[in-house]
Every structure is written in structure tokens, then in C-alpha cells.
């Protein structure tokens, strides 16, 4: 896992994750490369899910506050 993973934007991280999986699924995958990619992929998935969950919670909160506002 590179250090920059945390600072990647959600969409970039997602794109990278998709790339990794495509590489992993290619038939001529090298074992050493594969392990590295797998590790990075699992980390990226964790990061993406955390980011998305956080954003979802935040937006649900914002929208529920907004709808309570008297017009």
C-alpha cells in the first residue's frame, strides 16, 4: 500500500481499485505482483467503503436537518 492511498479522492481510489482487480484477473499474473496488488486492493476497498459510509452519514444528517427547517 502506498502512503498516498489515504489522501486519494474517493473516485480516484475507486478507479485504482477497479484497475487492480482487472490486473489481478488477467491470466498472466505474476505471483509477487499479484500479492502486492491484492494487498493494495483490499486496503483501497477498506478506504473507499469508509469514505463512502462517512459521506453518506454526513449527507443524511445534513438533509434531515434541512427538511426540519421551517420554510
Amino acid at each position: 500500500m502506498s502512503k498516498s492511498d489515504q489522501s486519494l479522492s474517493f473516485s480516484k481510489a475507486l478507479k485504482r481499485l477497479e484497475e487492480i482487480i482487472e490486473k489481478l484477473e488477467s491470466p498472466d499474473l505474476d505471483l509477487e505482483d499479484g500479492l502486492k496488488l491484492l494487498e493494495e486492493g483490499v486496503t483501497l476497498h477498506k478506504i473507499c467503503k469508509a469514505k463512502l459510509t462517512q459521506a453518506n452519514e454526513k449527507i443524511t444528517k445534513i438533509l434531515s436537518i434541512d427538511s426540519k427547517d421551517p420554510k
Binding site: F10, I21, C48
Partner: protein
Amino acid sequence: MNNIITQTNINFIKQHVYQVSQVNKLARESLEKISIWVEGEVSEFNKNPKYAFVYLKLKDDQASLSCISTFKVFNQFGESIVGQKILVFGYMTLYEKEGRFQFSIKQVEAVGEGLLQKKLDELILKLKAEGLFDTKHKKTIPAYPKKVCVVTSYDSAAWNDFKRHTVGKFPVIQLFVADVRVQGNKSVEQLLTTLPIVDNKNFDVIVVTRGGGSLEDLAAFNDEMVARTIFKMKTPTIVAIGHEFNESLAEWVADVRASTPTDAANIITSNYSKLEEKLDYFSRQLLTKSNYYFMTNFQLLDHLHFRLTQIKYSFKELPQKLFGLNQYLKVHEKSLIFEADRSLVDLYFKLNKNILTKFTYNNQKLENLERSLFLLSPQNTLKRGYAIATNFKGKVIKSIKSVEVGEQVGVRLADGNLSTKVKSKSNVKI
């Protein structure tokens, strides 16, 4: 009258029998002696150019009166006269043919409301001719007016209505009020003073408004000077006077006419309302879109996770694969070695065979060459009976010209040499 139609007087009547037409004529002549002024509201008005006369009906709350007049008398009135109160001068008469009673109008004057309306109509025509109502003079009301000045009576329902429908809904609008009398003597004067002042205060919009009323109540807003002042204003101006069906001169010259104070408020806030609707729409969109966004992305992540897990399994199968390969190798080891060995032997034989072939070929070639060489050697020629003649210097004699008669000549044969002398020379004929 009742006295006339009594039994005792029948004989008298019978002695003076009148024809119908005579009665009508008598009546008409008697009636035409009465010239009077009549006041009434016009309920019907028929001014068809194809007719010889103008026909109209006047009424009050109890009765109606058929009237006849000439085009000339009603020259200045149009269809709008219906509903107006007028004052007419003329005499009573009778249409003899039908015995229909009518009033012949010789002179007409508008009274009260009618007069005001007539004046107003004239004024409207005048200002219209001057171009004061032309659309090219109409200024556009800003889409989102913030500073709004209302010229009205502070105590009026109009002001309250306007306030409720503007700041009441959209507090961002700043309302200012210029308190003026909206009816009565002082009204025109106050409007003429106030309007130019508020026009110079950089308001986004000025609204001149009051509630409904009679034509007399609205007089100030039908005043020519007030109309001209409103026309000259630099600030976009909305005029809303009265109820739905009241119409005033001030409204004609305004940039925008509104039917009521509330209508004026709605014109001012229309874009704010649209904005509010838009915001509501966006808010709903935000919810829907964000829900969709999260749903799809969570699903995508789940799917990617699934694929990642699958890859883990494929790595787990790797040792199994290796073991399989190993087993395969073990099973086929001997046959593989045998195969390799056999191919090596094959190669060796092939190599040997090639070398042998080449060697034989070269040997034969060498022998052939040797044979050719032997056939061409001088010794071999001598053996076949040829001789070589040489002079005393040992040089081979190829022509008779290179020796003289009597000269010593050596002759070489296959098995030895002769020493001879040239006796004679002769040419050989070929």
C-alpha cells in the same frame, strides 16, 4: 280620467269618435309641448351608423325610458356610455305608428360618475395620442427587487395586503412606505410631491397602490398631472389601484399594471416564488440523487470486494496446482528421459551418415581429377609414339624455320634420347 269613462258620459264620447292614428297624433302633439331635463343611467345604447337615429334607454331604480336622438347629439359618446349617468334635455314624444312613447333628446351632459368617466376617457385618448402608454417607455421590473418603496396610505388594507404578500413571504425584500393620502383633496398634491422624491432614492421598484373605490374615490389616480409624474419616473413603477375591474389613468402610464395590491406584491415576488419552487425541487433532487449515488457506489464496492475475494481463492489454489505439476513430472519422468536419449542417438546416427556421404563423394571427385591429369601428361603422349625435338640449346623446336640444314637436333622418345642431324627441310601440307 276615471270620470270620463263613466256611464253618463258614454254618449258624449260616442259623438266624437277618433281614429287610432288621430289619437296618436293628438297624444304626440300634446306630449311635445313638454320640454324637460331628465337624469338617468344609460341602460341600452344603439348607435348603428345604418340607422337614422340613436336609440337609447335611460333608467332609474324604478323605471326605464326609451329615448331617441341624433348622431350629432351623441357624437362624443361611444358604447362605453352604457352604465353612465347622464343629464339630457329634450321633449316627450310618441312614435305614432306604434303609439310608442319616447323621449327625444336634444342635448346631453354627463353627470357625476358619468362626467368623471367622460373626462377620464378624454384624458386617456389625449395621453395615448401623446404616446405616454407606448410599450417602448415601459421599464422592466428587476427579477429580484430588494429595495421596494410603496406609495400608499399607511393605514390602508392595501399596505397590509402588500406587506403580507412580500416581506411576509420573503423577508429578504426591504419594504419602505411613503405615506400619502390616496383620496380626497390633498391626495393629488401629496402624490405630486412624494413621487419625485422617492424616484430619486434608488429604489429597485416603486409601487403606487390603493384599494378599490368609486370613480370619485380614485380621482387622484386619474389626475393628468399625477399620470404625467408617474410617466416621468426613472424607477420601474407598478401601479395597482382598486379592485380587479377598476382601471385608472395612473395604471395606463405605469411600467406594469397590477389589478390589486396583492397582485402587485405577486409581480414583485414572482421570481422569488419560482426560486423557492426551484429550491424545493433541487432539495428533492439532492435527496434522490444522493440516495442513488450511495446505493450504486456501495453496490459497486461490494461487487469489487467479491471479485477481490475470488482472487484470494485463485491464489489458494496455487499450491494445489504446483503439486499437480509435480505429480505429472514424476509420472512422466522415465518416458521423458527415454525420449531424450533416443533423440540423441538419432542425431548421432544422422551426423555419422552425413559425414560418410560427404567423404565418399569427395574421394570420387579426387580420383576423377587425378585420372584427367594423367591423361594429359607429356610422358603419356610420348608413350603413344610422339617425339619432342630440341635444338643444341635444349629448346623445343616447334617449326622447321627455327633449325637449319646440317644442324644438330636432339630427339626425345618415351624411353630415351637420340642425337641427329638435319638433312633437309620440307613443308607439310595440311
